[in-house]
């Protein structure tokens, strides 16, 4: 469904995009009622690909139609979740696909001004995007009366300056208003009160890039792919010591080990599999045993105690310790916490310090139990989900690799006692619903 996958080389150019059938879906959408477009997206079962997996059509239907205020569409191209690089791929290789998806979403919510927010480091994707937008304006696909209709549609391309938290949707709103990217308390939700206090639809780049296919081929065709509850396909960004890393489009429900050993070519020579973080650094790690038989979709990964998240598939080899992995991530979250909520600000820093102490050989069992307790105090208790994104990996790494943590501690560790402590706090981890 990502057209550029079949058209390497020139896929970013308008002519090539149209030759491959591009910009047919938006023409079709302009002839549909906005309600019909939203219905089609609802029926497709598409869920947000930015991390939270919220049903896309439902989100679109939350945008009030009778509001006197303008409605805005905002594409989230901030892509900063560690291990995730599929939006960058789309923006570089298929910018027109993203643009067409944005146009359709705008028409569906009757928006005449849309924004695409790029992370500040994306200079190359930005250059490709700008060239595509210019082509579209020149052709009359953007601006006054797009595609010869009476629908006016303008686009502003915005870019950040280095802040993971600007990827959180309400942090992004603040950032786009020219402020620090401090996430807002919800409600009000952005759909009701978003950018400049107007109704705002925020979707991830990949979510929007999926829209043209659905509108062109219909929801029924889309639901032929994937599983009962996880429809369609998803992009997976694959990294770590594997033979063939990169961006892969998979039908939902794909077998995880088949993917690793087949498509990805298995582990690099001389490295054994230690674990896989399947959905970006914020989701719990899976051990090789948990990976076996796992299905790559919303239910399948949840059943194994993890999540699809952003689809950042990070493969960890046996040449890096679980303690090092956790320290790496704790450093990331401590650095990126915006500091508004005490449990997150203090908790991320505290976990980082304790893991560092353990790596230094000065840690104790009590420190491990403190990490678990602090994580429990963070998850679900803050303005945004960054605190959960720290708490989940912390509990998961200790739960699944306790020997590695214990081996580095200064004193003896009572493994049974540690397991009991894990048992008191692992209720925060995702589980089958």
């Amino acid at each position: 469904m990502q057209r550029g996958l079949d058209r390497p080389g020139e896929s970013h150019v308008l002519e090539a995009y149209e030759a491959a059938g591009g910009y047919r879906a938006i023409r079709k959408a302009l002839g549909m009622s906005p309600e019909a477009i939203v219905d089609e997206v609802k029926k497709s079962g598409l869920r947000g690909r930015g991390g939270a997996g919220f049903p896309t059509g439902t989100k679109w239907s939350f945008i009030p139609r009778d509001s006197a205020k303008p409605r805005y569409l905002l594409c989230n191209s901030d892509e900063s979740e560690p291990g995730t690089f599929k939006d960058r791929w789309l923006l570089e290789n298929d910018p027109h696909l993203v643009l067409e998806g944005m146009m359709i979403a705008a028409v569906a919510i009757d928006s005449h001004l849309m924004f695409n927010y790029f992370r500040g480091e994306f200079t190359y994707p930005l250059a490709r995007w700008r060239a595509a937008v210019e082509e579209a304006y020149r052709k009359g696909y953007l601006g006054k009366g797009i595609f010869g209709s009476d629908y006016d549609l303008e686009l502003v391309t915005h870019y950040g300056a280095g802040a993971y938290i600007a990827g959180e949707e309400t942090g992004m709103l603040e950032s786009l208003e020219g402020k620090k990217a401090f996430p807002r308390n919800k409600p009000p939700f952005p759909a009701v009160e978003g950018l400049f206090r107007s109704p705002t639809l925020i979707n991830n780049t990949e979510t929007l890039a999926t829209i043209p296919w659905i509108v062109e081929n219909g929801a029924d065709a889309y639901t032929q792919y994937g599983t009962e509850k996880s429809r369609g396909t998803k992009l997976w960004s694959c990294s770590g010591p594997i033979a063939r890393p990169g961006v892969y489009e998979l039908e939902m429900g794909y077998d995880l080990m088949e993917f690793l050993e087949g498509d990805l070519g298995g582990m690099m020579e001389g490295v054994e599999l230690k674990g896989i973080i399947p959905g970006g650094s914020s989701v719990p790690v899976l051990t090789p045993e948990e990976c076996r038989g796992a299905k790559m979709d919303y239910e399948g990964l949840r059943e194994r105690g993890s999540l699809v998240g952003s689809g950042g598939f990070i493969v960890i080899g046996d040449n890096m310790s679980a303690v090092d992995c956790l320290l790496n991530l704790a450093h990331f979250y401590a650095h990126e916490s915006c500091g508004q909520c005490t449990p997150c600000r203090e908790g991320c820093g505290w976990i980082e310090q304790l893991v560092e102490k353990i790596l230094d050989g000065r840690g104790t069992q009590a420190d491990l139990e403190t990490i678990l307790r602090v994580s429990d105090l963070m998850a679900g208790k803050t303005i945004c989900a960054l605190a959960d994104a720290m708490a989940w990996p912390a509990v998961a790494f200790i739960k699944k690799y306790p020997q590695e943590f214990a081996a580095l501690c200064a004193g003896p560790v009572d493994m049974e006692g540690l397991a009991e402590a894990v048992g008191r706090h692992d209720h925060i981890l995702p589980k089958a619903s």
């Binding site: 291990g83 020219g178 890393p245 990070i314 890096m320 310790s321 679980a322 790596l359």
Partner: protein, 201 residues
Amino acid sequence: MAAFTMPDEAVRWVEATIARYPDRQAAMLPVLWAVQREKGWISPEAMVWVGDRLGCSASAVQAVVRFYTMFDEEPVGRWKLQVCRTLSCELMGARAIVDRIRERLGIEPGQTTSDGEFTLQEVECLASCGTAPMMQCNFKFYENLTPERIDALLDELRGRVPDHDDVEPVIYERPGADAYHAMFPRGAEAAPSGAAGEAGR
């Protein structure tokens, strides 16, 4: 205090950019970027200038500059080497990359060489995890790095003038298993607590 000025062309760009937003202050980040591109960093005088353009105080501008990691409040080297340190890059040898730059340039992360040529920084995931380890150098990505490639690259950069419009990434061929293992001083046999201790930070 010397008056802060921007070239006419940049001022026109700034005004046109502000006009595209429903609210002046919304142009904050693009306008700060325009200043940093022009001057290399954002001085207190620049913050006053930006505040005047956007209709907000210089202290509001400063709060934003401090919040976003890509803005510099001090001059940096001609080449700003920002090595990704996050998980996928560490798994692929990011520490060996940082170590080679530290040795070659004699600076620690956060420092600038005394000749003003290079600044070294460790940064978080840049969405190039599949071609790790990697770094951003000014506005350009270099992917699939090895210590040897760092050696050659540093030599090349010394003789070059930065071109801000040259943004196309340089993606080297992925290192083979031998080159990969060479980046981990103690190798796989030290697992499970392999990278702990002296091999690391």
